[in-house]
Structure formats: C-alpha cells, structure tokens
C-alpha cells in the first residue's frame, strides 16, 4: 500500500506539473517540425515586444496571346508571409497589351472583422484586371498566437467570410493555404473572441476555468488509478501463486522525484 501511495503521488505530481510547464510556452510541441516563426506584425500583439516591418510585394506578368502568364507574388520577407500563386489565365488580360500588375501589401485600414480574431496581418491584394480563375494564397502565421482555423476574406466595406483552408503540405503547421477567386483583403484567424492573451497567460475557451480544473483533476485520478489497479492485480496474482508470510512484506521502492 505504501508503494501504491507513492505511485499515486508521483503520477499526480508529474501530471499536474506538465500542464503548468506547457502553458508557459506557445502552443504546440510538434516534435520540432514547427519551429517558432519570426512573424513580422504590422500591429504587434501584446505578446510581441518588438517586430520588424512586414514586407509587401509588387510584380508584373507578361501577357502572351491574350493570356496572363502564370507565376507567384511573394512578400519581401525572409520567409514570405503572404504568397499568391496562380495558373495561366488566372487574370483577365489587360487592354492595351500591357503587363498584368499585382500587389500584395499589409494594411492597417480594412473592414471591421466582427466576431473574428485575426492572428496575421491583413493583406490587401490588388491587380490591374479582375481575377477570373481560382488561385492559391498561402499565409504564414506566428507560433506565438493560437493557430488560425481559416483564411478570411473581405471586399472593401464588405463582411469577412471564411474560405476553405488547409494546412500547407510544405510545413504543415505554421502556414495556411486557401483558394481564392477574387482580390481583396485577406487574413488568417478564427471565429469568436476579440482579445489577445497576455504573455504566459492561460486562455481558457469561453472563459470557463472551472471545467478545465475539474477535467484536470479527473485526468489525474484516472492516470494514477490505472497503474494502481495494475499493481494490485499483479500482487493479487503473485499472492495467489505463492503465499507470502505477513511478517515479510516486500520492501517499498522509492518514489520518483523524491529527494
């Protein structure tokens, strides 16, 4: 029973210590395949003490036989934070035979994102002619903030709408890709909430801490109870196989973490 108590205590301690340690760092373990991203915010959130200015992009594309040539436009960052890639004829050909000009730039003025929490800069994509075919937009996001669930878009003065989005197959965890059919404003985020957590703080979904605490307590009990049951069953099996005199109990093992 003494060993069982030590077991319970040790498991409870480590089970409680892990969430406390993990909540001090940005979300995600990722086995190292999601290294922290040095994201450049136009308006840094409270978690970010300083941020370099994010880059913008301008590119011109030739028109051959009335078809705008394929290509991509990536913002001028070390790791492009916004990248638009498109197929031949994705934009209608400019009149007059000039090239197709496309701009991607982070902006501070954009339609109000009611009910949304945007975790990236808002990028405005403009082109000299309308987009007529689906193109891919890849947005990098910071690992300091909760990961976004979707890329959202809005036109000038319009409402924000979610676009079908997927994790990038290149990195899988720090960028998000959406298919877009028009130019406009774009950002990654998630629905709900408007506040940004303070550094090191615990953001509990819906602001309800009690259910989380209760869940933690239940988990600790479950985690501690299972090995206890195993130990008891093993002992019962051993005693059934070879009875031991009550005056010679097995010496208890020291608990882990006890100094």
């Amino acid at each position: 029973m003494r060993r069982a108590r030590y077991t319970l205590l040790a498991l409870a301690l480590v089970a409680a210590a892990y969430p406390l340690a993990a909540l001090q760092i940005p979300p995600g373990f990722y086995e190292g395949f999601c290294p922290p991203v040095d994201y450049k915010f136009l308006t840094p959130p409270p978690q970010v003490k300083a941020s370099r200015a994010p880059g913008a992009a301008h590119a011109e594309f030739k028109v051959v036989n009335g078809v705008v040539q394929p290509g991509f436009v990536a913002t001028a960052d070390d790791n492009p934070q916004a990248q638009l890639s498109f197929l031949p004829g994705a934009f209608s050909a400019p009149t007059g035979g000039g090239p197709e000009a496309i701009d991607v730039k982070p902006v501070k003025d954009y339609p109000e994102a009611k009910g949304l929490t945007l975790v990236t800069n808002v990028y405005q994509i403009t082109s000299s002619t309308p987009m007529v075919k689906t193109s891919n937009l890849r947005l990098l996001y910071s690992t300091v903030l909760p990961a976004p669930s979707s890329v959202y878009t809005a036109s000038a003065g319009g409402e924000w709408q979610a676009l079908p989005s997927n994790a990038s197959t290149q990195s899988g965890c720090s960028d998000i890709v959406a298919q877009i059919t028009t130019t406009g404003y774009f950002a990654a985020g998630y629905s709900g909430g408007s506040t940004v957590p303070k550094p090191g703080s615990t953001t509990v979904g819906g602001g309800q801490a009690l259910p989380i605490i209760v869940a933690l307590a239940i988990l600790i009990v479950v985690l501690a109870g299972l090995p206890l049951a195993l130990v008891r069953r093993r002992r019962a099996a051993e005693e059934a196989g070879s009875p031991r005199p009550p005056s010679s109990p097995a010496p208890p093992s020291p608990p882990p973490g006890r100094t």
């Binding site: 993990a22 190292g32 395949f33 899988g172 195993l230 882990p256």
Partner: protein, 176 residues
Amino acid sequence: MARLAVVTVLVLSLEWTRALVERSTGPIPTIAIGGLALSLVAIGWRPEALGLSRTHLLPKLLGGLAIAAVLLLPAAVRWQGAPLLPPPLAISAIAISVGEELAFRGALFAALEAAFGPLAAVLGSSLIFAFGHVLSHPPLFLLAVLAAGLVLGTWRWAARDLVGPIVGHTLADLAL
C-alpha cells in the same frame, strides 16, 4: 554501464542528427526516418525489459489515452481549431513518437534502471529526453519537454509498461 553509455550516445546522436538533417532537407521524410532509426535502438532487448507485454492490454491502452489527455490539456484549453496535420506529417509524427518511446522509455530506461535503479531511470531518461531535443526545440520549450518526459517515464515505472507512453505520445503528437 557500457550498455547504458552506448544506448545514451546512440539515442542522443540519432535525435541530434535528425534535427540537423531536418534543417536542410525539411521535415519529410527526415522525421519518419529518424523515428525508424530510434526504434532500432530497442533491438536486442527482451520485450518485457522494454515494458512491452500483451498482459493487461486494455488498461494499458486506457492509460495511453489518459497520458495523451494530460499532454494535450494545455493545447486543448487554447485550441481554436487549427488545421489537421497533412498525411505525410501525420505518418512522420507516428514514426517519431513510437521511435522515441522505444529508445528513451524502452532501451534507455531499461539500461538506467539496471545500472542505477528506478528513480535514476525516471529522472535520467527524462533529462536525456529533454537534452535530445535541444537542437529541434527552442530553449523555452525544453522545460515542457522535460515535464512530458517525467509523465511518460513515471508511467513507465509505475505500471512497468511502455504501451501507454507509446499510445499517449503518438496521440499527443498527432493532435498538437
């Protein structure tokens, strides 16, 4: 002692090599290959010494779910609906989770326990687990890695079981 030294050098070398190669080639397929290489460290050990046996499999699997729940709790309270891992990365996550458990909580734990006892096995395997992640994780993350190692190692000691840590580690990596 010689066996312990060999296992320690081997697991650290494999983890660090994986992290260095990953920087130049990207996560796919480096993580999966790293996981397979770590699994090879367990070759030559009896399954019982590694904590692998088929007895009490159901409670061990439930234990794995409980471990995963603890490991996922911090992410869960801050979760906002991140996209799922793409299949190639999910396969890599499974490979590295299984490989790390076989290497750290399997072979290394057994070697440490044989040399210095269970307390040293739990603490030592957790410290070496954290040390193995210095090249793949920023310093800020290492305390959490150490704490995760303690959760997994304590279960390994308490239940004499590696199935739970394998299940818990894998589910946590897939869901994070």
